[in-house]
């Protein structure tokens, strides 16, 4: 994935949002100035930025390795849960959540925090430390001052979480207890995803590889979701419902590498 393109596209979306909500040209001008430096930062290969932060180097190396063993699968899961946990905690602190949605966001935050504690306890000494997150991706967008941006990021995180857990199921097949726990978290992420999508006026399920109103750069979250061939069976042939319904009926897995790339955009 092209990280710079991802950031630029989110930036454009952020500018549109700030123009719509604040009507201020200065906001968008400031964001435009920030873009250059953020793009430069994003261009640093991730391995190098890990090297630049020696205190976290070991943790980062472990996490960004291939996800093959049950431990590695859960380490990836914990990083994603850290991200969601901190994101929703900051969302609740932001004061911008409309009262009508407050109970929903608080319920999701409660679950993500419980997932972090559960996975930390399951991994024990193998648990990676919490990374430092930047949900503005270097000041490019403003989720905690702009509610539509907050929900857009939440959707990206939840839909990514569903796909990432699914992608790790095979790595947990040797351990029934861990597999079951991961499936139990996976289904909760899907319940969150459906609700967040519906708050945004989207369907609760993913149609083809449609981003559901997210900017171009979020395409990596949805690429592959258009699949309609399941175990050699063309699900789009059922009942003349077409490929849209067929793709909605099955969520697709995401590799650890893709999930890692997406999470990396929000890790300092």
């Amino acid at each position: 994935m092209n990280i710079i393109k991802f950031l630029e596209s989110f930036t454009n979306e952020g500018m549109i949002n700030s123009l719509n909500t604040k009507g201020s040209r200065r906001d968008s001008f400031t964001q435009l100035q920030k873009m250059g430096s953020v793009a430069a930062m994003a261009a640093i290969p991730f391995g190098l930025s890990a090297f630049l932060a020696p205190a976290k180097a070991n943790t980062t190396t472990t996490f960004f390795g291939p996800t093959e063993t049950p431990t590695e699968a859960l380490q990836l899961a914990l990083i994603l849960e850290y991200l969601e946990d901190e994101f929703y905690a900051m969302a609740l602190d932001s004061g911008i959540i409309p009262s009508a949605d407050q109970a929903i966001i608080a319920q999701i935050a409660k679950h993500e925090n419980a997932h972090v504690n559960f996975l930390k306890s399951a991994l024990a000494d193998a648990a990676p430390e919490k990374p430092t997150f930047d949900f503005t991706a270097g000041g490019n967008f403003d989720p905690f001052n702009d509610y539509p941006t907050l929900l857009a990021l939440a959707q990206a995180f939840e839909d990514t979480g569903v796909r990432a857990y699914k992608g790790q199921a095979g790595n947990l097949i040797s351990n029934g207890d861990l597999l079951t726990a991961a499936l139990q978290i996976h289904s909760v992420e899907a319940m969150h995803a459906s609700q967040i999508r519906r708050l945004r006026g989207q369907k609760g399920w993913i149609i083809g590889s449609d981003r559901g109103g997210l900017p171009d750069a979020a395409q990596a979250v949805y690429t592959g979701e258009e699949n309609v061939m399941q175990a050699g069976f063309d699900t789009s042939m059922v009942g003349n419902f077409g490929s849209g319904s067929a793709s909605e009926s099955f969520d697709e897995p995401m590799t650890g590498a893709v999930a890692t790339n997406i999470a990396s955009l929000f890790i300092v």
């Binding site: 009508a100 949605d101 109970a103 929903i104 608080a106 319920q107 999701i108 409660k110 679950h111 993500e112 925090n113 419980a114 997932h115 504690n117 559960f118 569903v162 857990y165 699914k166 199921a169 095979g170 097949i173 040797s174 029934g176 207890d177 597999l179 079951t180 726990a181 499936l183 139990q184 978290i185 996976h186 289904s187 909760v188 992420e189 899907a190 319940m191 969150h192 995803a193 459906s194 609700q195 519906r198 369907k203 609760g204 399920w205 399941q230 175990a231 050699g232 069976f233 699900t235 059922v238 009942g239 419902f241 319904s245 067929a246 909605e248 009926s249 099955f250 969520d251 697709e252 897995p253």
Partner: protein
């Protein structure tokens, strides 16, 4: 369907005696394995194929048993939503958002049902191993009653999520595990949507009744528990057994 089942009885008598003999051999092997592995015994035996036993269809054991179990559940969900969207009062009972959600769920569940039928048909060694089309009766449920329909949808979706979560550990083929994973998250998306239609703006979309507050885990129930719960609904009219499923 029932005629086919009756005809099945004859050849099955010989299969049943074979079953008994190999059952002893299996028990012996189990003792040996027990000493060196703490894993659940996941090895499906050939004699656990789905099919009619004593005049009643048994879902079978092993991966094929789990697939057949999922096929039975998807038949139930698909039948329910088919009746919901084909009700004469569908357009007046539900608002447009509810109609949109219920129509999507109807399509998804029919697709799931047809997928399992095709997947099972592709791996069974004779067509009598395919679970027949089940018959359903919803008793006093009124398809013109919004509250009743949504409550039933909630029960079915919650059951589906718990069933797939609980069955995952008994699947030995990685491809089947991923396929179950592809479906369970869609069932969970359904459960969330139905729950929010019933009680919008609340925590019910992922309520404490289905997600344990202390650890954030959704429900996982093994097949025997799900089958008991579904039987209690008294909707499935076609008898079947699940003597080889955990």
């Amino acid at each position: 369907m029932k005629k086919v089942q009756v005809e099945e009885v004859k050849p099955l008598h010989s299969r049943r005696s074979f079953l008994r003999i190999s059952g002893i051999a299996l028990a012996g092997a189990g003792l040996v394995v027990a000493g060196c592995s703490s894993d659940d015994d996941k090895a499906p035996a050939d004699n656990q194929a789905p099919g009619v036993r004593n005049g009643v269809f048994d879902l079978g054991g092993g991966d094929l048993g789990i697939l057949t179990y999922a096929y039975a559940l998807e038949q139930l969900e698909a039948d329910f939503y088919t009746r919901v969207v084909n009700s004469n009062t569908f357009g007046s009972t539900f608002n447009s958002e509810e109609q949109s959600v219920l129509t999507d769920l109807y399509r998804h569940e029919v697709i799931h049902r047809e997928f399992f039928k095709a997947a099972i048909s592709g791996v069974i060694t004779n067509e009598n191993q395919l679970l027949p089309a089940l018959e359903f009766d919803y008793g006093s449920l009124s398809f013109s009653n919004r509250t009743q329909v949504l409550a039933t949808a909630k029960t079915l979706e919650d059951t589906g999520v718990a069933a797939y979560n609980g069955a995952g550990r008994y699947i030995t083929t990685p491809d089947y595990l991923v396929l179950a994973g592809k479906i369970v998250s869609v069932e969970a998306r359904h459960a969330s949507a139905i729950r929010s239609l019933i009680n919008p703006g609340s925590t019910d979309f992922a309520g404490d009744d289905v997600v344990t507050a202390s650890n954030g885990l959704g429900q996982a129930i093994k097949p025997s528990g799900i089958i008991a719960a579904v039987s209690a609904l008294d909707v499935i009219q076609t008898p079947f057994t699940a003597q080889f499923l955990p």
